[in-house]
Amino acid sequence: MYWIANGFLFRRVTSPFHKLDPRVKLSISIMFFVLSLLASYVITVAAVLIAILAVAAFARTLKRVARTMLFSLLFASIIFLINFFFGLGLLHALVYALRFLAIISSTSLFFVTTSPDELEQIMKWMRVPRDVVFAFVTAVRFIPVVMLDAFQIMDAQKSRGLELEKGSVLVRVRNLIPILIPLVVNSVIRSGELAEAMESRAYGAIPKPTSLYGMKLKWYDWTVLLTSFLAFLIALYIYHSFHFPF
């Protein structure tokens, strides 16, 4: 579970890919996503997958994206088996399974290379309402904090004799109550404090706040964008015109 989640968490790495405007990164991921969906042969899907991994390597995040793919193999296998037993034939089922892996990897690529700040800017650019953007940003910002809270709560309750590792499923679920309630209560208290701090710093004073950072497409953004779009079109042409053996 941890590895899958990690495949979507941003890591601060310096690579030429990371420096791209987030909108370009989004476009590239979307193009991969579309190519994955439209590929109908094993060769083409595999090609897309390899391309995604190549870009991930270029972005120095290959390990992460590859790991995500590895841990999605379970679901991919399930997809393969289901499709196979519905009589779709070996190759077809394989295509579906590989398609799934490619979709996951292309999404992972985007999230791993885009910082939460950049995500926020993209949302603003897409005209997502300010309050929604803020809620998202705050939620992500507090993930490590809430996780730490959870560990401290578990420590405190273990120290009162709570056994988290023994017992039947029912018992274990019930033993989560002394963990969940304080966690929720703390989150509620935290929300209250956040609200006070927000008010005290004039949140909501004007309908359109200004922004310290901005997105600006530079020459290399345009270059990469156009090149990848070109590659995208070529790939579509290949899909359309060629019939592959498998």
Partner: protein
């Protein structure tokens, strides 16, 4: 005997006898909390071992060890979850397998001792900060552990609450319990005069009686621990008495005599 490796704690050797009162000081991040978490098994050492009353902490679960070692953590909001104060105190007792009559007896004793009986049926969430702290202490002392660890007990407490806390700590000590207090409130510790262990960057850099340790200005400054006001006063007086001032009246008595 405690001893551990890895960044958080480094080669710590410490023996605490039954019935001792020990204060652990050091800046935030020096390893104080990490150390005490080893005592009840929340953390297991990477190298070396921790033994509590002869049992190696690696051999038993935390829940098990906690029967002997109670830790009162800094934030009561990380613990309170029951519908009523009464159930909150009962929680640990049930976990440790006390029988019903014993539970009732211990709960009543704990609520009475900490002055929380009038809140018996109330939700813990409505209590004030200081009352919540007392409730967590009550929940722990209800099961009567031989070792009691207080993690930063005076944070955010006003003077009256601190006095009560000092009283309770002394009572526990007189009752023969081993008391370990992690605190950066040196004035509070000075009033209790426990043995003091100073930690810095995961190591023990000082260990001795309160009076001895608090006088070592060089060691304390390096460990970013402040000295109690009376000690600072004593150090700067010229001439000064051989023994440092333990209380304000001591200082007053000596000064008035000297000036006369």
């Amino acid at each position: 005997m405690h001893q551990t490796g890895v960044r958080a704690l480094d080669g710590v050797n410490l023996t605490i006898d039954a019935g001792e009162m020990v204060g652990i000081v050091g800046e935030n991040g020096a390893g104080k909390t990490t150390l005490v978490r080893h005592v009840n098994g929340l953390l297991k050492p990477l190298t070396g071992s921790v033994e509590v009353e002869g049992t190696n902490t690696r051999d038993v679960s935390t829940a098990n060890l906690s029967r002997k070692v109670g830790i009162a953590f800094q934030n009561p909001d990380h613990q309170l979850f029951s519908d009523s104060v009464e159930k909150e105190v009962t929680f640990a007792l049930t976990n440790f397998g006390f029988d019903k009559p014993k539970i009732d007896e211990r709960v009543s004793w704990a609520l009475d001792f900490f002055g929380l009986d009038r809140y018996r049926k109330s939700s813990p969430l409505i209590l004030s900060g200081g009352e919540k702290k007392r409730l967590t202490l009550a929940s722990i002392l209800a099961w009567d552990p031989g070792v009691v660890i207080l993690d930063e007990p005076t944070v955010g407490q006003d003077a009256i609450q601190k006095e009560k806390l000092a009283e309770i700590t002394n009572t526990l000590h007189s009752a023969g319990k081993t008391v370990i207090i992690v605190s950066h409130d040196v004035e509070f510790l000075w009033s209790l005069q426990p043995r003091v262990v100073v930690m810095r960057q995961g190591r023990v850099v000082g260990d001795g009686t309160c009076a001895d340790v608090m006088l070592d200005r060089e060691m304390l400054t390096a460990a970013r621990v402040s000295q109690p006001q009376l000690v600072r006063l004593h150090e700067r007086l010229a001439p000064r008495p051989d023994k440092t001032f333990l209380t304000v009246p001591d200082a007053r008595a000596w000064i008035t005599r000297e000036v006369a």
